[in-house]
Symmetry: C2
């Protein structure tokens, strides 16, 4: 991790050099670091010294380095640079970017700039670019690149290697090659490993993997990332509905997908609408409000229902005011118990350990877990209420029996609701923490006051 | 996704064939599918027909296929198979497994079986295996494999390719090769792509990347996965404290790490102790209780404090009993508002968009967001309380002013607490939902009753 450790120092040094207008030395220092780090450094330069300094440096980098660095910049910094450089420089960048990065860049640019760029491409290119721009967001098509290596079935290994040598520079990966029939249908894949290990006069056909796994261009990106996780591939072919090969997705593009899906789950769990790729600081105040308000209102309405249940027990409550003291305890414990189970079940379903047919087994396990937990918590509370709070035995009994019932119900609801959601085709992640706790709040209130009515009236 | 779709059918077919004792035909069908899928099928066979059928089939597979399938089986199924096969078969599997898979298998086996296996290895092998078994769980060392390709700096491309062809079969990857000096120190890496594209009489030294990124053998697996995400590598070298190359980690092993870290975050957010790799169903009832109880007790204690605050306002509450009706509403909204912000800030810090130095900017943004949200929610409630609940203006005012204050405080706490945690070196994920909501419960209660005292006494 030496590189990681010294990066802060290096970047401070380079920024100092730039500030002192020692551009040549700054550039030489930059050329020693990885392009990903250079992009990070440029971000810092833009923030600390301003865009002019970043562009001066950007222009001094060797062309191929500058294009690669550009591809690693975040959208707003890309746009900032595009706004300052000449049309010619922009054209160069667009031409030299890997196809999938170019599409990403075009997707982020304002329409008038995209039109300006497309004007300068050939009709053929324009058609392909437009096809790629039109694949739905989050589809396999939006992730793929058409820059893969095609081999012929009849080629010898020697011929194949010569071909790879010739076109390898412009391909996204050379480590997996693809074989198509006359109709452009995918018939198999060959790994470079197989080619390197094979004798040079062997045929590509002999080492063809014809049972390859592939995805459809309209498949969801989450399914694609599941396949990478499951099979450990470096690349996966993408076909259209006629099984014609239209592109490939490489493993390095999957990390972004995993992070995006992960963010989405996280946000759902916290009751926030999906903010996509946008960073916290880049989202405006009103957009933040917009993303958070719907859940809060939904949960507020459910809390209003809970409130009206309390209201219906107003007489009971005014007779035994100390019942109110234990309400947060019971509602809180119910909510937490339920969301623990819900989280485990949702995760289990997401990673494929739990299926719908396991529902009864989950229920049986949660029943035992919750009764054990409920019993322990009840005993603790019983002692605390009698000895510390010096409440009457009936109040202690009411609270503790309620605790046991509430924990048990909350855990069973927490286990079953995500499964039910999946059964009827709703994303189980929507059944997470906020949903479960608002439901258990309701259940807790009704249970507690009903039990109190029974116990205290006898 | 055709493969995916037909997998269920294929597996049903093969299970039917086995059940009818048509082993040869079952094997032929199996050989048509990917080894990862075969492992999944074996799991199903063990579950539905029993281990004997799985072993019969396992023995009929070509040796190299059976070893690969074995490496994809879950731990308990591996153990089931090991318990039935002969020592000779076990020895073969252990010998043929990739080094990192072998270490994984050994780690899961009971000590007596591991001893039995190690007896049959050479002293040299035993030493290496023991070194690898001793790397701490979740360290880079526990993920790596020593099966990488070493090249000499002075080699021509032709010699390098010949070397790769010779040893490529036994290496974890051939796509990145490593160059060491006499002292086994890592001096650079060469990609197979560079070798394939270069002229055959070029020297390895000319295409050496000497500014490569590497990790230390004791680095945390999360840092390793961050580097894969950041740089998009296919493999990363692992060095010891003297920068000697001891192994490599390949990208396919990183997906498991990401999932594990993800699970951990998820569990922390729900207040469950880390269950590691264990699957929901494989965890016993008491272990489930053990994993969940600490958080529930911790949160229960905090709810008890909230309860005693309510108790201290008992007189007020018995005078205006309808105050209790709005308690769940205020506490719930406070908790949800706080955990929304906490989640966003924790995620922002985890993916590197938010730094500690952004604290004031986060506070400023949350302040504006929360006042907007608080104002909207207050207005909705004001109308509802006056018009639907037909409460007095003072009660409505008390609830709505409390709502505004509570939402604002909850969001500021939710934003600052994870940052504070990071500042003092605690994992911010521990500050998530349950923690935040128990804190905001306290704040909500105090705010509400204090305001009520002021407003209702005037």
């Amino acid at each position: 991790m030496e590189n990681e450790k010294t990066f802060e120092e290096i970047s401070a040094e380079i920024i100092a050099l730039l500030d002192a207008k020692k551009y040549i030395r700054a550039r030489d220092e930059i050329l020693k670091i990885n392009e990903v780090d250079t992009a990070e450094l440029l971000e810092e330069i833009i923030e600390e010294l301003g865009i002019e300094y970043a562009v001066i440096l950007f222009r001094m980098l060797p062309k191929d380095v500058s294009v690669e660095v550009f591809s690693y910049l975040p959208p707003d910094d890309r746009l900032a640079i595009i706004n300052v450089i000449t049309d010619k420089e922009l054209k160069y960048i667009i031409d030299e970017l890997d196809f999938d990065d170019m599409i990403d860049v075009l997707e982020e640019l304002p329409a008038n700039i995209v039109d300006k760029i497309l004007e300068k491409t050939t009709k053929e290119e324009r058609k392909q670019i437009n096809t790629f721009l039109n694949y739905p967001d989050r589809s396999a098509g939006s992730l793929m690149t058409p820059d893969y290596i095609s081999l012929q079935k009849g080629m010898t290994v020697e011929a194949a290697m010569a071909h790879i040598k010739r076109v390898g520079m412009d391909s996204e990966t050379i480590y997996t090659c693809y074989v198509k029939d006359q109709g452009r249908k995918l018939i198999g894949i060959v790994s470079l490993r197989a080619l390197v290990i094979a004798d040079s006069d062997a045929r590509v056909a002999d080492m063809l993997d014809e049972d390859m796994v592939y995805v459809n261009v309209y498949d969801d990106q989450e399914d694609v990332s599941e396949m990478f996780k499951k099979y450990g591939f470096l690349a996966i072919p993408v076909v259209d509905n006629e099984k014609r090969l239209v592109g490939i997705i490489t493993v390095d593009d999957i990390f972004g997908v995993i992070e995006e899906e992960y963010n989405e789950d996280f946000e759902r769990m916290a009751g926030v609408l999906d903010s996509g790729d946008a960073e916290y600081m880049d989202i405006g105040v009103f957009k933040h409000v917009w993303n958070r308000l719907p859940w809060l209102i939904f949960l507020m309405i459910s809390a209003m229902v809970t409130g009206s249940i309390i209201r219906s027990f107003e007489v009971l409550l005014s007779n035994v005011i100390s019942l109110a003291v234990y309400l947060p305890l019971l509602m809180g414990t119910g909510g937490n118990s339920g969301s623990q189970t819900a989280t485990l079940v949702i995760r289990g379903m997401a990673v494929g350990n739990l299926e719908l047919r396991d529902a009864l087994r989950v229920l049986w396990k949660e029943l035992r877990v919750s009764i054990t937990i409920g019993f322990i918590l009840s005993c603790l509370n019983f002692a605390k209420i009698l000895l510390l709070d010096r409440e009457s035995l009936v109040v202690a009994a009411t609270v503790c029996i309620s605790m046991l019932v509430i924990v048990t119900m909350a855990k069973c609801i927490g286990g079953m609701l995500p499964m039910l959601a999946k059964r009827v085709g709703i994303d189980p992640a929507l059944m997470a923490a906020p949903m479960i706790s608002s439901l258990t709040d309701l259940v807790s209130c009704i249970t507690y006051f009903s039990l109190a009515t029974i116990v205290l009236n006898t």
